[in-house]
Point group: C2
Chain length 232, copies 2
C-alpha cells in the first residue's frame, strides 16, 4: 500500500499533536506539521513566519521538492478572544482573529487545492458558537462564520479543489485540553470532547465512504463522556 | 424639531453621495462623510488614513468636539474582487476584502455603539451572493458572510448598541452606478437598483415604526425598473 500523508496546520498545538500521534499509531501515516514551532509528533515540521503568503510558498516548495501529494490537510490553527463592539480592543482582536482563524484556513485550503490527491480530505475548524449570534465575542464569531462560508464555498462546483475531494468543518464546543483544564479547573471534564475522539473522527473521514457530504459543518458535543457528531 | 445627523462611511463613493444628497433634500438632515477623500455632498468630511483604529479615534474626537450624537450610521464602504482558492491572488484579495468590507463594518458599528442615540439606526452592507456559496469569489464571499454574522450579533442582547436601536444589512445584487454601467455596458440597466431607491429605503428605516426587525438582512432586487426588498 502506498504511504499516506497528512499535513496539519497547527501541528504543534495540543489538538494538532494528538491528531499527528493518532494518525501515526493507528494507520502508519506520514505526518507533516506546519506551525510556529516544530511539532514533537511530526516526521517533518515547516516553521511559520507569520507572513501567510511567504509561509504558503515555503510549504509548497517543501512539498514540491519532496514530490509529496497529500491525502489529508487539516487546519487546527486558530484562537479565541472575547469582546463586545463597544470595546476599544475590538480592532486589535479583529486583526488577530483574522490572522489566526481566517488566514490559516485560507492557507490550508490553498495548499489543499494544489497538493491534495483526488478523493483527498480537507478539514477546517469552525465553531458551534458561530452558528448563532456572538455579541460577546464579535471578532471570534465573524471569523468563524467566515470559515463556515469558506467550507460551503469550497464544496461548491468550480471551487478549485481536486476531483471527488471533500471539505468538512469540525465545530468543537469545548475540547479537553490541558490549557482548558487550567483555565476552567471546576468544569465537568466529562462534558468536554477528548482530543483522541477528534483524531479518530478525522481518520474515519479519510475513507471516502465514511464521510459526511462535502461542505458539512460537523458539531462535536460531549455529555457524560459520550461524544456526538451533529451534521448540519 | 431637533436637527438629525447621519454619518456615512464611504460617503464620497457613488452610493454614499446619493445617500447624503437624498437625506439633505428630503428631510434636511445634517450629513457627515467618512472616506478617503472629501465628499461633495457632505456638510463635514472626515478623511481616512487607512489605519482603522486611528481613523475611528479621529472620527470619535471630531464627534465629541462637536457634541454630536447620531441618528443614523450607514456603511457603504467596501469592494469586490473575484478569485478561486487555487489563485495566487487569494492572499492579497483576502487582505484587501478584510480591510474594505470587514474593518469598515466594524469601524461603523463601534462608532454607532458610542454615538448613536437611543432608537438610532445602523446599516451595514452585505451581499445577496454571500447567502449562497461563492466558489469564484472566495475573499468577497467570506467577508460578506462575516458582515452578515456581525449584523445578527449586534442585534442580539448585550451587544453594546444603544437601547431600542436597530442594526440592518442591505444586500444589493447590482446597483445602477456609473462604474457598473461602464464595466457592463450591454447589461439591462432596468434590472439594476437605482441609488435613490436605496437612499429612500434608508430614510424610511430612520423611523422606528418603518423598520424590519433588528438583525434583518434585506436583499435589494430590481426587475424591469421595479425594486423589491426581501427580508431574511
Amino acid at each position: 500500500m502506498a504511504e499516506k500523508t497528512l499535513l496539519v496546520y497547527g501541528g504543534a498545538g495540543q489538538l494538532g499533536q494528538a491528531i499527528l500521534k493518532t494518525f501515526k499509531l493507528i494507520d502508519a501515516w506520514k505526518v507533516i506539521s506546519v506551525d510556529f514551532r516544530a511539532s514533537q509528533e511530526a516526521h517533518e515540521s515547516v516553521i511559520l513566519s507569520g507572513d501567510v503568503e511567504a509561509d504558503v510558498t515555503r510549504v509548497a516548495e517543501q512539498l514540491t521538492a519532496g514530490g509529496v501529494q497529500l491525502d489529508a490537510v487539516v487546519c487546527v490553527a486558530g484562537g479565541w478572544v472575547g469582546e463586545d463592539i463597544k470595546s476599544k480592543s475590538i480592532f486589535k482582536n479583529v486583526d488577530k482573529m483574522h490572522k489566526f482563524n481566517v488566514e490559516s484556513s485560507i492557507a490550508c485550503s490553498h495548499i489543499a487545492a494544489h497538493f491534495l490527491k483526488p478523493e483527498g480530505l480537507l478539514v477546517l475548524t469552525g465553531a458551534s458558537a458561530a452558528l448563532n449570534p456572538t455579541p460577546g465575542m464579535i471578532a471570534y464569531g465573524i471569523t468563524k462564520a467566515a470559515t463556515h462560508h469558506l467550507v460551503k464555498s469550497l464544496a461548491a462546483p468550480g471551487s478549485g479543489l481536486p476531483e471527488n475531494s471533500a471539505v468538512l468543518a469540525i465545530l468543537p464546543s469545548c475540547l479537553d485540553t490541558a490549557t482548558n483544564r487550567e483555565a476552567m479547573p471546576n468544569a465537568n471534564f466529562d462534558d468536554w470532547t477528548p482530543l483522541e475522539e477528534v483524531a479518530r473522527l478525522l481518520i474515519n473521514w479519510t475513507s471516502p465512504d465514511q464521510r459526511p457530504v462535502s461542505g458539512s459543518l460537523v458539531q462535536l458535543t460531549t455529555n457524560a463522556k459520550v461524544t456526538q457528531f451533529i451534521i448540519s
